[in-house]
Symmetry: C2
Subunit: 508 residues, 2 copies
């Protein structure tokens, strides 16, 4: 590979959405399947998800939640119970109608029609509500703090790997409380956990905020989210937390006797985070050489690449590397032993090195006979240029590996924050707003839309018609009303008073 | 509760299958849902599964396997590819035929018919084979060692919680190899891992063996399994490992260039273990007072129960218990910190104690002001009678908790082995065989069938017609042909020579 070239073509600037698919391919994260809209999550991509699961699961348990598992199928009659909810999901439901296959004229056909069709869960409020109604009798049974790790299906027409697929993996928390305040506190607590996870573990700076009515979860009273900026300056919703009021409790009959003996409906919440997060990591940290894994979630944090030119040194080099691996694994980082991979395949060193760059391993260590003589390794960091490598004494490397991984983690977060800061702009007039989000002209008519815009912090009086108009004109929506305090002002679209600036952006 | 009574009614002897359901209820492990044949796995049951997952996943990774995730849906055309396979599963497939719901006359109806119906995966050989065909090109790509944690659906007509449900959770391993021998070695390695997991972690003694043709996995060349004896003397298949030969590789087109450049089909395996294991734990270790969790997989290994008669001592007792909890958690057992729960609910001590007996917590510690004065706790072990409790000095308990948990684990395995030994019998004549499996008369005509039979070790010449006849007459089948070496002999049913004794039993 010539030094001016990058490993991924097109580059981000050339065609961001093509670049995204090429990174997924080059890093071996996932692939499309023959099943319309469904993806196969390959081992390197799934391992990222396993670390997301491990860390989040720990955070949920530390705040008193327990896991359970509810049916994949939801009878139509259950789904129908909450009107806004069913309306929100009806258009994208996979429906099971038969329970048997029979060969007819050499072809399999569905037979055994079900009396009541079953929907493959798009989310589980209704099916879980049905259990909660049985589990909750008295105030003593509350709060009920449940989480589920599961697959869900939403029949999207336009799909995109990790970001929008017919089936995806996620966790969905569902809780019931005796008072409105407790349910609101839970909603905000979980939003805070998502924000902390995003920043501390994914190196993903996020804005915490509330959705406007038009972007609210179907059936919720209030929807909160964390929003992140991708490198193409679009927003990505990275986790949502819903205060459901008593809507679902009424629909499902979740009632309890309070301390005075009166029967009242519980207050519920739900909150979810999905495999979409892997898409967020790619589009936040990835560069023109491929994936960049945040060290805390990287499936392998250190990869040792033996560089063996002559077969006679092979054994000695491999033995030295194996010992180095053991020493590094004895170190710990972010509460777990350092994850080290020794790539002993009989493949050229430079080729292996590029593979690990594309996969985004945080630290690469090249080890040849000369390095061994010096008692050193040749180290490359994924947050720096591929050729920016340095010799590091073995002992220094081993002792400092945890600190080094955190240094890379910090660098990724700093970089992502800088990108976001650079492309976040307070805007006070409608003209400026429209100009900000209008794509610059392309050189050739078939070129992809150049990267433009970002987060506009503009006042908004809250009129849904204005939102709808801007969405139609520019494809821009209110991503959230930030939780952070802000100053009141004037809405540039209506001239009406606005309590604070909101975040406007194009989004995934 | 009077001392002669037990917590679960009916008892095992009175009605084993009713007892089973009552234990699930009393231990709060699971419940039926309104979705036909589907269950809700409640937190205590799901936590057992989480520990099964954690330990097995570690064993899989230690043998070089990685996790991935494949689509929930299988297009009919893919499922059809392996003839025996589709025939085996066609009768129990949930089929998705529509992708939208529409309100008509105030009722939701499925619309948007799919061009090709999709089957909800009953197992994933065909959908994974489709990916493997892309991933495998050269002998260098082999072996491919993949595992998936997933839900699967088999539309069973008669369901039973944990043992046979329309949807269940499992892991399914799928591997591809360059040679027949490597694939066979993998098949046997995974069978061995299941056997080791069952014995060391679940305290479940198992027979490893091969299935006869009639019980083989649809499409497999050979199916191996581990079989355990439940307390009603029926067999339960607790994990299967299949050598698939080149059948699925041919069906899916998994081909590779070998070292000489010739194109050949890979050899594949698959192996699975499911939430059925929780049913096995209940029926192996449970007693007339409820669930008995094997300590290594118990969600909580030690439960501290403050016994507070007077409110004024509450704070002091709780503080002492909290400190005890911290000390116990600093101990480790089976490679992890001891899992300790402090049950601080404002509920009578005896009531709490019975709840934890029914849930099967291995060690209960009752702590009142007098125990604190003595610097001791009042300890109950779940492998002993509920009232067989003893005072143990605090320091001794803390230092010895790991050893004590292993003592209980060993006791459970020993007990299960003794039950199996007592009800395993070599049988050499057809009459004795029929007598062994014929239910004794019931006292009243409506009484449940008394527990009888067990494992019959009888010779078998291998004639499928004999198997079919015995299944029809007695509901007894060959559970497996044990791997352990045996002596040749004569089949009592045909008079033909038999290579070795096989295990016959009624089964779940
Ligand atoms: Zn948002
Ligand atoms: Zn078996």
């Amino acid at each position: 590979m010539a030094s001016a070239e990058t490993a991924i073509r097109p580059t981000r600037a050339e065609n961001f959405s093509e670049w995204y698919l090429e990174v997924i391919k080059a890093a071996d994260l996932a692939e499309s399947s023959t099943v319309r809209g469904c993806m196969v999550i390959k081992p390197w991509g799934y391992a990222l998800w396993e670390h997301v699961q491990r860390v989040l699961d720990g955070m949920f348990k530390a705040t008193g939640h327990v896991n359970a598992y509810f049916p994949l199928f939801i009878p139509l009659s259950l789904l129908e119970k909450e009107a806004a909810h069913v309306e929100g999901f009806a258009k994208e439901c996979a429906v099971v109608t038969h329970h048997r296959l029979e060969a007819r004229d050499g072809k399999l056909v569905p037979v055994g029609e079900l009396e009541e069709p079953l929907v493959v869960r798009p989310t589980s409020e209704t099916i879980i509500g049905e259990s909660f109604a049985r589990w909750v009798q008295s105030y003593r049974d509350l709060p009920l703090l449940i989480n589920q790790w599961a697959n869900v299906v939403r029949w999207e027409m336009r799909t995109r790997m990790f970001l929008r697929t017919a089936e995806f993996l996620w966790q969905e928390g569902h809780t019931a409380h005796a008072t409105e305040q407790e349910a609101i506190d839970e909603t905000m607590q979980m939003l805070g956990i998502y924000a902390r996870f995003a920043e501390e573990w994914m190196a993903l700076p996020v804005v915490q905020g509330e959705k406007t009515a038009s972007e609210r979860f179907p059936g919720a009273v209030r929807t909160y989210c964390i929003e992140a900026m991708m490198q193409d300056r679009k927003a990505l919703q990275a986790g949502t937390s819903h205060f459901l009021g008593q809507n679902f409790a009424r629909a499902s009959g979740i009632q309890f006797q309070d301390e005075k003996g009166a029967l009242t409906h519980a207050w519920t919440t739900s909150w979810g985070l999905s495999t979409r997060m892997i898409g967020a990591m790619i589009m936040t940290h990835g560069d023109d050489d491929g994936m960049v894994c945040p060290p805390r979630l990287a499936p392998q944090q250190v990869v040792i690449i033996p560089v063996i030119q002559k077969p006679e040194v092979r054994e000695q080099v491999l033995a030295w590397c194996a010992e180095l691996k053991r020493e590094l694994e004895a170190q710990s980082y972010a509460g777990a032993p350092v994850r080290v991979h020794l790539d002993a395949r009989d493949v050229q060193g430079a080729k292996k090195s590029w593979e690990w760059i594309k996969k985004g391993a945080p630290i690469r260590l090249e080890v040849g006979p000369k390095d061994i003589e010096k008692g050193a390794v040749f180290m490359g960091r994924r947050d720096r240029k591929p050729r920016e490598k340095q010799s590091v004494p073995r002992g220094e490397l081993v002792a400092g590996v945890g600190a080094l991984l955190q240094e890379i983690q910090d660098a990724l977060l700093r970089r992502a924050r800088a990108v976001r800061a650079e492309h976040t702009r307070p805007i006070d007039t409608k003209d400026e707003f429209y100009a900000y989000f209008t794509p610059p002209a392309t050189v050739r008519p078939n070129d992809p839309t150049p990267i433009h815009g970002g987060f506009a912090l503009a006042h908004f009086s809250g009129d849904p018609a204005v939102e709808a108009r801007i969405k139609e004109d520019l494809g821009v929506t209110v991503r959230c009303i930030p939780l952070e305090p802000g100053e009141p002002g004037t809405c540039p679209f209506t001239g009406q008073p606005s309590p604070k600036r909101v975040v406007w952006a194009k989004s995934y």
